[in-house]
Symmetry: C2
Subunit: 136 residues, 2 copies
DNA sequence: TCCGCACTTTACGTTAACGTAAACTTGCGG
DNA sequence: CCGCAAGTTTACGTTAACGTAAAGTGCGGA
């Protein structure tokens, strides 16, 4: 069960990207779907990977960074101590980056709140020529 | 007091970018420093703008988006009701985007924490050939 | 006066992340 | 059998955000 698979078109529609994009990610080594003949067959795991990539994009990550992230989630059987140490290092690095972004977002939210308040104040005290009927 | 100004080189060093980058931002309309003859003179306000741009970059914003943000902070005397409404709309949009990013970051942090735990577990139960002397 | 350094403009080059077009195969409903 | 929709490969085009090189300007110090 849960043997479901996806065509490239299905995924493109669902995730709101083009098939070109999906094939491009494959070229970049971010995906390697199975094939039935020529045709690409995507598993739920492939779909998850795609969603990871898109989330990365929303956060401003490059495809290379997203590939790194994916590799962090798939420690593919290369588990000797040295490699694990390196992995932990990379994970810590990403976590630090996310903390920075978190901080940037908080500051930016505050600034936007202030801008919003100034804007609302300006609306109240502004040129009333465009008032359209609320004062009660 | 606080009449301080900056040369392009000073700003470049402090913010760890190149002068080419700063001039490029000017070409894109993100900065318009004063001139003493040919030479650009930057005010503290210009410096703040630059920092805004760089923070935007850390969050994956394009220069166009950063320019929008800066404009949101500088409602340059075009304060009629209609424009203000539009401004509030854009602000709300940015705030929504930041909320999405915030959520993405939280999810990613959780996933990285899990990856970290798996990685540490793997280190404990792994090939001990590279152990270097801690067990007490 | 000439040197060197920081600044300037102009312009072509580069990388990432796709877009777009052309030309081809393949499964299927009529 | 035919055509169309959805898949495929190949390849050139495009945009953003700078890098890099060339060639010139201005100025304080030996």
């Amino acid at each position: 069960m849960s043997k479901k698979t996806y065509s490239i078109g299905e995924l493109a529609r669902e995730l709101d990207i083009t098939t070109r994009t999906i094939r491009f990610y494959e070229d970049m080594g971010l995906l390697s779907p199975e094939r039935r003949g020529q045709t690409r067959i995507y598993t739920p795991a492939d779909r998850v990977r795609l969603k990871l990539i898109l989330r990365g994009k929303r956060l401003g990550f490059s495809l290379a960074e997203s590939r790194e992230l994916i590799e962090l989630y798939n420690p593919d059987t290369d588990n000797n101590q040295t490699q694990l140490k390196a992995l932990l290092g990379k994970i810590a690095e990403k976590k630090a980056q996310l903390m920075r972004q978190l901080h940037d977002i908080e500051v930016m939210q505050i600034e936007l709140d202030e801008a919003e308040r100034r804007c609302q104040d300006a609306m109240r005290t502004a040129d009333p020529s465009t008032l359209s009927g609320e004062s009660a």
